[in-house]
């Protein structure tokens, strides 16, 4: 009898530490079969890291992170909330903390572009700070808030303060509040981190539209780390701004290869699609 109640007490203790079972609320998906089946959804109450493969891929990494924010907003929404959102009601906010230095290197966040990807800029709060230390402080404060759809933390380079302790703090704040926290690393090598997953993102050639116009944003993503399961997997996905989901490019259509020895404009000016 005594033993049995001990075991029950232990079970309760373990249950308090263990994350709740993956439900619709506890995880969000990319929206495409390959990665979703392999990873089984990304845990909401956790820190996820998105690193650019190189500095030139910073925009791709930012775009992929924004896609994850939108997925988190969408999959977490109860039907009643989703309906309200469709009715023009503002979604929960995304707080994006950037280091000012990154603005000179990769440009400032441009809300009209975010809108074109499907994100309503009225739900964006941007915090711009000079020091990586402050970026992390603000990030922890926001991650602990619990009223946000997602938090994006974007320090530049490899600041010394971004160590295992700092990422652990972010992870704990995310676990406590249930808010997904994305650590976006536009530059710098990956160091020790308590993040649950880490994606390495590079820009990928898009599927051209008519008249060889650039198509939907495409990314080469590698899941280099996954504390909960398989890692080392790679996909080429593109963002569908209408359905607000990622789609595997390879499944859609083979990439059109272009002759490498002559410019794409060989067709002459008449072949260009005009816009605006």
């Amino acid at each position: 009898m005594q033993e049995r109640s001990d075991i029950q007490a232990l079970r309760r203790l373990v249950a308090a530490f263990e994350p709740p079972a993956d439900s619709q609320e506890a995880a969000f998906t990319l929206g495409t079969e390959g990665p979703d089946e392999a990873i089984g959804g990304l845990r909401r109450a956790a820190l996820h890291e998105v690193a650019a493969a190189s500095e030139a891929d910073a925009a791709a990494a930012a775009g992929f992170t924004l896609g994850l924010c939108l997925r988190a907003a969408l999959t977490g929404a109860t039907p009643e909330r989703a309906a309200r959102r469709a009715g023009g009601h503002a979604a929960r906010a995304v707080l994006w903390v950037r280091q000012r230095y990154g603005e000179a290197e990769t440009g400032a966040l441009h809300p009209p572009g975010l809108r074109h990807l499907g994100f309503h800029p009225q739900a964006l709060v941007e915090v711009r700070l000079g020091h990586a230390r402050d970026v992390l402080r603000a990030g922890v404060e926001a991650a602990a808030c619990g009223a946000l759809c997602a938090v994006v933390i974007e320090p530049w380079g490899e600041p010394a303060v971004l160590d295992l302790t700092a990422t652990r703090r972010l992870e704990l704040a995310a676990e406590a509040s249930g808010t997904p926290v994305f650590l976006l690393r536009p530059s710098g090598a990956a160091g020790a981190s308590a993040a649950r997953t880490r994606f390495r993102v590079a820009a990928a050639p898009s599927r051209p539209l008519e008249a060889n116009a650039p198509g939907h944003p495409a990314f080469d993503i590698v899941l280099v780390r996954n504390r909960a399961g398989r890692h080392g997997l790679a996909w080429r996905v593109e963002w569908n701004n209408e359905d607000q989901r990622f789609a595997e490019q390879a499944l859609l259509r083979p990439v059109v290869s272009l002759p490498a020895d002559r410019p794409a404009a060989a067709g002459g000016p008449a072949a260009w699609r005009r816009a605006g």
């Binding site: 030139a56 910073a58 775009g63 990769t106 898009s206 944003p217 794409a264």
Partner: protein, 477 residues
């Protein structure tokens, strides 16, 4: 002090006065009388600063303090004398503390500011019982009316030396001869009228303060005091159906220094815990921390700007609760990093990309106006997510006159363009005036590595003066 050609004394201390040296005396005369006097140059600016420092300090007695340069202060103590066991207690406390700093002065309490001032400056000071102004002021000289020198002399010439001489006379002839100003001041001096004071700082709507018999200096003590004050202030706000947007904490140090800290809230606030947390964040983030020195002997928390707020209710609606939690978060981040660091965005009706968006502090409660344009259905984004300001020049090879570039060099890297779309022509907004800017033709291009850029050509070939140049303005994901 220089007056005409002569150097005169502007002020004299207690000992000098006893030796017969009075302000206005020529320096040469003073030296002749007391050869060993110490003379310093008169610095009116420093005097003014000192006066405002003392006025800040006097805030501890009442929020309504008026500076009366060069050497006077008027305090409205009607509502606060009871905190010091009555007017006498307040005056005693004030003179004792000022004496402790090495100041000497004279204080008077009366029903009107002018009467109190005249008694302090021209009389012996002291406290006048309500309605006692006519008797108290009667022996004062006419100079106590503080009219200009010409009229004061005119009064004396007319044989009117004291206030008593004036008080008994019919007012109309006085007004006719010496001006209406004299009659107005006389009435105020005798307590018949009470002209309003204009305080040096706007009065707070609500305030709460705590005095400490033993000055406190430890961070924990200050946090506890702020907790208590926040609870008190929020109770006041609750009773009046208000919430605060701008709060101010004043710290009165035992040695006389006063420090004020302001904190903003993004929404009307009256939750003690959120308010105390806001101030602790603010205090934590100060680049010039509040130095308790030998301790604070008083802390006041007040509401500088309030707003109507409906009675507290438990939110069953998660969206509302989220919005409030977000406003509190924005308030804390603003308190820590400044209003310029935490932004929201507002669409602007402009086609020029760098003018399409306005940043504003997230704490501002300006409502969203206008709408963000979505991309055309089925099309990929035609605006970048990252925008360079200013646009970055690139070297590009392009088809003349309006083809997209074949290749371009940006930050020393050569990009081969494999896909492109454009041009999207964005004409300058001539109605904004200023220097005429050339037309821009924008292209969405993708290079062989799959990176997408937003390039534009400034100017048209063969037109608009200078040869066109190429720029990268933004990055697509």
């Amino acid at each position: 002090m220089r007056e005409g050609g002569a150097v005169r004394l502007a002020a004299a201390d207690e000992r000098a006065r006893r030796l017969g040296l009075a302000p206005g005396l020529a320096l040469a005369d003073a030296r002749a009388r007391v050869p060993e006097i110490v003379v310093r140059e008169h610095e009116p600016e420093t005097d003014r600063l000192l006066l405002s420092w003392i006025a800040d300090w006097c805030d501890r007695y009442t929020p309504l303090v008026v500076e009366e340069p060069p050497d006077g202060l008027v305090l409205e103590i009607a509502g606060s004398a009871h905190l010091f066991d009555g007017e006498a207690g307040l005056v005693a406390d004030l003179t004792r503390r000022l004496g402790g700093f090495g100041f000497s002065g004279s204080a008077a309490v009366a029903g009107t500011a002018i009467a109190a001032r005249a008694l302090a400056r021209f009389g012996k000071g002291g406290i006048v019982a309500p309605g006692g102004e006519p008797q108290a002021c009667a022996p004062l000289p006419v100079a106590a009316l503080e009219l200009d020198a010409e009229r004061t002399v005119a009064l004396r010439r007319a044989g009117l030396f004291t206030i008593a001489d004036l008080a008994g006379r019919p007012r109309k002839p006085l007004a006719a001869r010496f001006g209406a100003e004299l009659v107005g001041r006389l009435a105020a001096l005798l307590g018949e009228t009470d002209p309003p004071l204009s305080p040096r700082r706007p009065l707070p709507d609500f305030s709460s303060e705590q005095r400490f018999a033993d000055p406190i200096g430890l961070a924990e003590d200050i946090a506890l005091a702020l907790d208590a004050l926040a609870a008190d202030l929020c109770g006041l706000l609750e009773r009046h159906g208000q919430g605060g947007r701008v709060f101010e904490a004043s710290f009165y140090r035992a040695d006389g220094a006063t420090r004020r800290i302001e904190a903003l809230s993004g929404r009307p606030l009256r939750e003690p815990r959120a308010l105390a947390k806001l101030f602790m964040t603010r205090l934590d983030a100060l680049s010039d921390p509040v130095d308790p020195g030998f301790g604070f002997d008083m802390i006041r928390l007040c509401v500088r700007l309030g707003e109507e707020m409906s009675p507290a209710q438990v939110h069953f609606d998660r969206d509302r609760a989220d919005a409030e939690a977000l406003a509190d978060l924005v308030g804390r981040l603003t308190a820590r990093f400044g209003a310029g660091a935490v932004d929201r965005f507002m669409p602007q009706g402009s086609h020029v990309p760098e003018r399409a968006v306005a940043r504003m502090p997230a704490i501002s409660d300006r409502q969203d106006e206008g709408d963000w344009q979505a991309s055309p259905p089925g099309e990929p984004a035609t605006r970048p997510i990252l925008l360079f300001d200013p646009p970055q020049p690139v070297e590009a090879v392009a088809e003349v006159p309006d083809g997209p570039p074949f290749r371009f060099r940006w930050r020393r890297v050569l990009h081969e363009v494999v896909r492109a779309e454009g041009p999207e022509r964005i004409a300058p907004e001539w109605w904004r005036g200023g220097k005429a800017e050339p037309t821009r033709d924008y292209y969405r291009v993708e290079d062989s590595a799959g990176r997408r850029f937003w390039l534009f050509r400034r100017g048209l070939y063969g037109q608009e003066g200078a040869p066109p140049g190429w720029f990268v303005h933004g990055l697509f994901p």
